[in-house]
Amino acid sequence: MADSSTIMGLHQEEEHHPQLLHHFADAGQQRDAASLGMWVFLATEVMFFGGMFCAYLIYRHWYFGDFGAASKSIDATLGATNTAVLICSSLTVVLAVWAAQTARRALLIGMLVVTMLFGLAFLGIKGYEYYQKFEEHHVPGASFSFDHVPIPGHPGEYANPRHAQIYFSLYFLMTGIHALHMIVGLGIFTWLLVMACKGRFTPEYYTPVEIGGLYWHFVDIIWIYLFPLLYLIDRHP
């Protein structure tokens, strides 16, 4: 890779990639620095979502049965489908990174497009779930209604609508912020797609694909926790 003479400013075409910034020794160091920056950002995202998960755990503990009843009203099959969609999108993201590493431009473009299609499918299914909740008056607010819904495992007992409303507030907050991250991810991938079509990525320089992928995988990990916590509590009859 680049030795000290190229760092000092002897820009030999075959050694000095145009995307390599002057203060980095080589492409690998530049890539590691960018990855570290993304990871530090993701650490702040862990704390951001962590606060919401913490609120969820406290209320789930306090209003255990009400949360179970409310959770049962959302469609677990759609949630599981969305989990599979995101896992498949994570596979296409690593394949895109691999394609960029190995100079397979057509595969890179294809995988970026498929990833975005998976992302759109996720948002479409999510939107349908929101539509169902609107229809059932399960959206917190003036028209919220959750009367005479039995608490799982406690025959004859009904969920407190005020407590169920807290579940749905957390449901819409957490899935909504997650969906917002998906939309941002789609924006990032649109940009990656444009850059890939322009041929900007090479085995020496594919940092945006790599760290855009890190972001996408992180959003997948958040969903991996949202799915059991929001959809799968108290499912058994």
């Binding site: 690998g28 990855s35 913490c54 394949l95 085995p203 926790y225 108290d234």
Partner: protein
């Protein structure tokens, strides 16, 4: 540095991780409908953590990360998350009046 690991292709590993993640998703979905008492939540969270670990280690390349600082950043994120959850819940879950 993942860029220099091109000698052997990681594709087989990527597909194996993907298949494992899908199997875990199916298992967690099916187990949720079986009555296990408090262990339903335990099983669901253990499987979610296994899935998240697989994604982080192999798809996000922590396993092969050349830069140790990246591993430190990940460890710091997990540490502070546990600090947030652990200290908050140790308060809220031990209040006899709630």
């Amino acid at each position: 540095m993942t860029g220099h690991a091109s000698a052997k292709s990681p594709l087989k590993m990527y597909f194996a991780v993907w298949a494992t993640l899908l199997v875990f998703t199916l298992v967690t979905f099916k187990v949720a409908f079986i009555e296990l008492g408090p262990f339903n939540a335990v099983v669901a969270l253990v499987i979610a953590t296994l899935k998240a670990t697989l994604v982080a280690l192999f798809f996000m390349h922590i396993w092969h990360a050349g830069e140790r600082l990246i591993k430190v950043a990940v460890a710091a994120a997990i540490f502070f998350l546990f600090l947030l959850l652990g200290l908050t819940l140790s308060d809220y879950l031990t209040r006899p009046w709630s």
